[in-house]
Amino acid sequence: MLARTDSRARALILLLLAAVVATGIGARLAWWQIVEREPLATLALHQLAQHEQIPATRGEITDAGGVLLATSVELQSVFATPPSVDDPESTAALLAPALGMEMNALRERLTSDDPWVWLKRRVDLAVSNRIRSMDLPGIGMLPETKRVYPVQGISPRTTLAAQIIGFVNVDGVGQYGIESAEDDLLAGLSGSVTAQEDVIGRQIADSVYELQQPVDGSDLRLTIDAGLQHLLETAMWGTYRRNAAEGVTGVVMDVNTGAVLALATFPSYDANRYGTQDPSIFTNPAVSRQYEPGSVMKAFTISAALDAGAITLRDRFKDDNNLRIADVRIQNADRYTSPYGHGRITAGDVLKLSNNVGAAKIGLTLGRERLYQAFRRFGFGEPTGIEIAGEASGVVWNPDGPNGSGDLTAAQNAFGQGLSVTAMQLVAGYAAIGNGGELVTPHVVAGWTTPDGVYHESKPPTSQRIMREQTADTVLRLLTDAVDDGIAQPASIPGYSVAGKTGTAQIAGPITTRVRTGTDAHGDPIFEKQTHFGYIDGWIDSSFISLMPASDPKIVTLLLIHRPATWGLYQMAQRPDDLFRDLAPDILSYLAIPPDRPTQPVASR
């Protein structure tokens, strides 16, 4: 008979062994979970969790009346994972017509060594639907936002106020115009999320480790009125074509607040397709192009001289069409019709006749230093501060500075040559004449609405008094006379008083001439091409600037034609004052500004 065996000792030993192993495992676990917890947990989080950016919604841009000028839409961007593409050849053949891409370029991307490539970003809704229906292996789509500009411009392939608004590039960064200048306000702050994702990239609920909510951008409201902008663009586009000009600029601004109501420039572009446009037209010439303004500066010279008490309205200046300073002869624009000048003329006559000699003499009577300081007070030589990117400062030389030529600089500046300004600086300067002597800051942003729905009104810097009110009123009256009785008479319109000034200035540029430098061994002349900087025949900037109605100015309007096709003595298809006569009644009607002068009875028309 077999007896039972006693295995307690073996069991005890096994137990001890098990206890040792368990203790070891427990100690290791404790080491991992207590001592090394933080680094291991971080490592695990990095392996499991995905960190994604949550883009903020970019703010919209509307005009003064709420017309949507810029918004964002969600579109699909098409990508490929080349290793997953079954048949690159047939895939490329299917996708090329849908994406509007060349077959070779597409095939190159589909056979790329990269694990992931973009094929085309932000395709139209119809295209994305078509690609989705193809269900091609290795081809996918991701949503991306695209900035769009819904309001069409008057000319083909343009959007309204494109050079005011600018555009947003493929990376979502504002470029040019307000999109660039107010990018921080519009863009907002993107957020981020760190969470686990499943195998197909879907976020697993309740697995969010970190969440930073995005802060959406603010909506901007402009001072621009889309209807008025359309009116101005229509007129400027017409004169741009008629004059075969290099460019045109039109500005309408409130004289009292500095709010820009319309700003039209051509050539312009389609902000929805900026990638296909010439980048040189992206900047807004009204703020970025510096040019010699010509006779429109005479109003500032007379303002400065009157305000300083250097001249009175009764003072007369001898105009013999021949003023010599430092061997440079200054003549009038009408030197062919009045070769000996106009005799003794007043400051009012200077504006009526647009007289260069008279303006130069007034400038010299005031004194070159005081004239220079007065121009600086009017804001020339520094940016106005308008919220459009790329604003230039213009150049006004100190007559006694290293670039100045003493009295010659002052005399030339007095009638608008030898210095450069921007259209916006001119408009701001004339607004000061129209509003009683205060320099306002031109602005295009009326206000903005933050994501919490609170509207903040834009507060431009307070205006600065730059001349006495009496001086401003006097110059306004002289400018009104210049339109009523002077050479700007074509700009007069029935029913309204208009204070205005024409300006035509030559454009300087490089001129290449053939110069005889000597003779060769055979006695034949040797010629060389030499380039110097000078005024080019036929190249002009022609402008008309006005204050309406002159009895109580509400708006200042600048119409500028850059390098029109000219013939004879600056003859052109449509002069700015002619354009003004056609356009001004529409602007006044649109803004409901009533006539301030008796109009002719209807029966007599």
């Binding site: 039972r4 065996t5 006693d6 839409v73 309001v151 069409q152 309204l160 902008q229 009644p585 529409d586």
Partner: protein, 149 residues
């Protein structure tokens, strides 16, 4: 060895148990060369009976604990699954919202296009044959001073 059908099964099992007993084996240096006689079986059996009574009270407690833990684990698992499933539903709904928002944005864009002054002017002229009013027809009403007074 034969068994009649009337023989109780317990006896058979007991007999098999005896047959199945094996001699003490020697396992290296820890084995025993001969079996140790059991001389105090009776008292130990009594003690064993007492212990068995205690075990009967402890096993259900452990089982209940295990069952409770398993239940909790299952509950946690089901809740986790439910949360995950709900999460996917929420994600799907969010995707739908995003899709609808994208469509809405497209519509807003189209409305903006249709409201372009240039488009309105073109349609007014070409589709409705409208013409611009002559400027003479625009008149401004003079403010009524009497009414204001």
């Amino acid at each position: 060895m034969g068994h009649s059908p009337a023989q109780p099964l317990s006896g058979l099992i007991r007999g098999m148990a005896i047959c199945g007993a094996r001699p003490a084996t020697r396992f290296g240096p820890f084995g025993r060369s001969r079996p140790r006689p059991r001389t105090v079986a009776q008292p130990r059996r009594r003690q064993g009976t007492g212990r068995r009574t205690q075990r009967v009270g402890g096993v259900p407690g452990v089982l209940i604990g295990i069952a409770a833990a398993a239940g909790l684990a299952l509950f946690h698992l089901s809740q986790s699954s439910h949360v995950a499933a709900t999460g996917y539903e929420i994600a799907d709904l969010r995707a739908q919202v995003a899709e609808l928002r994208a469509e809405q944005q497209q519509l807003i864009f189209q409305i903006g296009e249709a409201r372009s002054p240039a488009v309105i002017e073109r349609r007014a002229k070409t589709m409705l044959n409208l013409v611009a009013l002559p400027r003479q027809s625009v008149t401004f009403a003079q403010p009524s001073t009497k009414r204001n007074k």
